[in-house]
Symmetry: C2
Subunit: 394 residues, 2 copies
């Protein structure tokens, strides 16, 4: 059900005192091979945290043996001292596992602008590597412990397991874990994700598949428009199944896994009371559909209206009108939970017919300008969102 | 102190039943000449309301004799029937004042997607034109009544009066009124503004001055990132002072008037508990400075932190990093209310030294990449903002 589901991966999650709560705050995932092929997608934020700067160097050769992740601090805007902390953490993992520090990815999440205590990280790495030594293959418990250790304001761990392949070609497995509850916006959502597979694929194939999968999943999750400095989605392949799937088939399964994790992130977004899917139809291009969906997903007035169960479709059109997508502003249809409230830019069915009390909200916007479509996932803007983010604690 | 301060303008504000509250909801401002030169800046939203479509035609020749404004309904996304309502309203004003409908601007504000009742508008125009007939020159009372009639969720009317010119060249006056408390974002903020002057200037000069003034005032107010469908800033000149000011001097005074109204809008923004000025220094271009300031002003996590009096400068840098402005991500300084919390991309003075309890918050971001600067004005994201916008009522 998680990163330990595919053959060839062991994991641990421990508490080392980074979180004041005493909860687990350090996770370690090791690839036992025989392959160590990997791919990573990083945040597109130009203000990148130190672990991102480190991991970008590690992934350059496509080979990763282990990944260490901590909550309780982002190690971002902490200067050269912060980079040294990341480097030393990777060295500690390398020493403990008898591998090269250049094959160890590092991820951090938490408050920006505070130094991480290296001694605590090192003690955590020591604890986690001891736990790895005792780990058994496919231990669900160990996988869940790792998923718990990367949580910040998440209310629950997020994990996934997907089976791929066929009887003829042989079967393989994909497992994954994710954290993220705020700063959920594209490029990527604010999150750390580790995906493992026992499929046998080259690093450049993993990279192609991962970019294709994240483009239509994590990149279309836009809970609050805020892009993080620490986002990292890592895909590690052990090849232990001996199965070399077709890349397209693998990409489909990987996309399923990413979509599952993305929807789990949406469902656990800070303070949200509605999960909103904004589907843009009839767009001239896929880019137009994404652009229009995102403009609505980022409109605070629309998001606050959904919180109040108010089908205020004028706010949808006001947001659509700020984009340069191809459409006739006076020939757009808008549907709220199946009720077409606007047809051809004019009032259609009464807004009183719309029931917005369920958590799931389905918005459809027909631009009538082409055949492309895209769905953006977002949340409503609530009292609880404001509250949780007005007094940040990791 | 308002649109009736400059010589040559009379105004009225009346109640005609568009607002359920029974408050004033229709304003009429007439230019008595001898000049009728005017300029208008409209919303850049592609989804424009019917009164915007009408007013764009009226201003084409630069001549305006009167402007009628209503609250209680935006007349947006109401189709050809809605346009007919706007047209008929202008006709009613023209009949009542003995002028041409082609010289009557119309503005509306309120909920999108609902038809406005024409009979009530016509009754309102009748009442207002009767009041104009009884109006005396420079009646403060009448000007305030007009400013009250355009309020929606505003808690108070916004007005301004500025004197220009010199003893040598002669003096002239600029007056203005504004409404707007939500959908406050650039290009323009969600608002209706009417500015009057008794200066003697050509319409193309008024247009140049108005665009210059709005670019650095209303366009830099970004309370909630939401751009309206109905924004209109109108400048009408009567020439009654007989003074023809230098265009640069007039532009400076007009900018002062616009800045005063913009700050009044910010101070009355829905649910806000802080007025935030984000000044970007050391930018390579003015565009860069605006872009960076706007990215911070639109970051919900930053805005929620300010609500909680939390000087979370990491959220400032995370927002800055999403832009393509010229800067070194690891050499930026950030100051909160005079305390430099980040220097060269690293923690500087303790965030504990920052006092965010005053309503006014001053954020300074030094990009160290040039000599340009700009200030963006925004508000915090509060429980009250969410509340007021989750159950919209005009």
């Amino acid at each position: 059900m998680t990163v330990t589901s595919p053959t060839g991966f062991i994991a641990a999650g421990v508490a080392c005192g980074l979180k004041k709560s005493g909860n687990k705050d350090l996770a370690l995932v090791q690839n036992l091979g025989p392959l160590y092929n990997s791919a990573v997608v990083f945040t597109s934020n130009r203000c990148k945290a130190n672990p991102i700067l480190w991991s970008q160097q590690v992934i350059a050769d496509g080979r990763v043996e282990a990944i260490v992740l901590n909550s309780g601090g982002a190690n971002c805007y902490t200067g050269s001292q912060g980079f040294q902390v990341t480097h030393s953490t990777a060295e500690s993992v390398a020493d403990a596992l008898g591998i090269s520090a250049g094959d160890v990815l590092v991820c951090s999440t938490g408050l920006i602008g505070e130094q991480l205590p290296l001694e605590k990280l090192q003690a955590g790495v020591h604890l986690a590597s001891e736990a790895l030594g005792e780990a058994t293959a496919n231990s669900l418990e160990a996988g869940i412990a790792a998923a718990e250790a990367i949580m910040t304001t998440d209310s629950k761990p997020k994990t996934v397991q997907i089976s791929g392949g066929s009887a003829a070609a042989g079967n393989y497995s994909i497992g994954g874990m994710a954290k993220g509850a705020g700063m959920l916006a594209p490029g990527l959502a604010t999150m750390l994700v580790v995906i493992t597979t026992d499929a046998h694929l080259e690093s450049h194939e993993l990279d192609t598949a991962l970019r294709a999968a994240t483009r239509v999943t994590f990149d279309r999750l836009d809970s609050d428009g805020c892009m993080s400095t620490n986002d990292q989605v890592t895909l590690m392949a052990s090849g232990a199944s001996g199965v070399s799937p077709e890349l397209l088939e693998f990409t489909d399964r990987l996309t399923e896994a990413c979509a599952s994790l993305a929807l789990q992130l949406q469902a656990d977004a800070e303070g949200a009371s509605h999960d909103i899917a904004i589907t843009v139809l009839g767009a001239a291009t896929e880019d137009d559909a994404v652009k229009v969906g995102r403009s609505v997903a980022r409109n605070n007035l629309f998001k606050a209206a959904i919180f109040g169960n108010d089908p205020n479709w004028g706010r949808v059109l006001a947001a659509v009108g700020t984009t340069d997508a191809t459409f006739d502003p006076y020939d757009i249809d808008v549907t709220f939970n199946g009720v077409r409230v606007c047809q051809g830019g004019q009032p259609d069915q009464s807004r009183d017919q719309v029931d917005l009390t369920p958590r799931a909200v389905d918005i459809r916007i027909d631009l009538k300008s082409g055949a492309h479509t895209a769905t953006i996932y977002t949340n409503d803007l609530t009292h609880d969102y404001v509250h949780e983010n007005s007094a940040y604690s990791s």
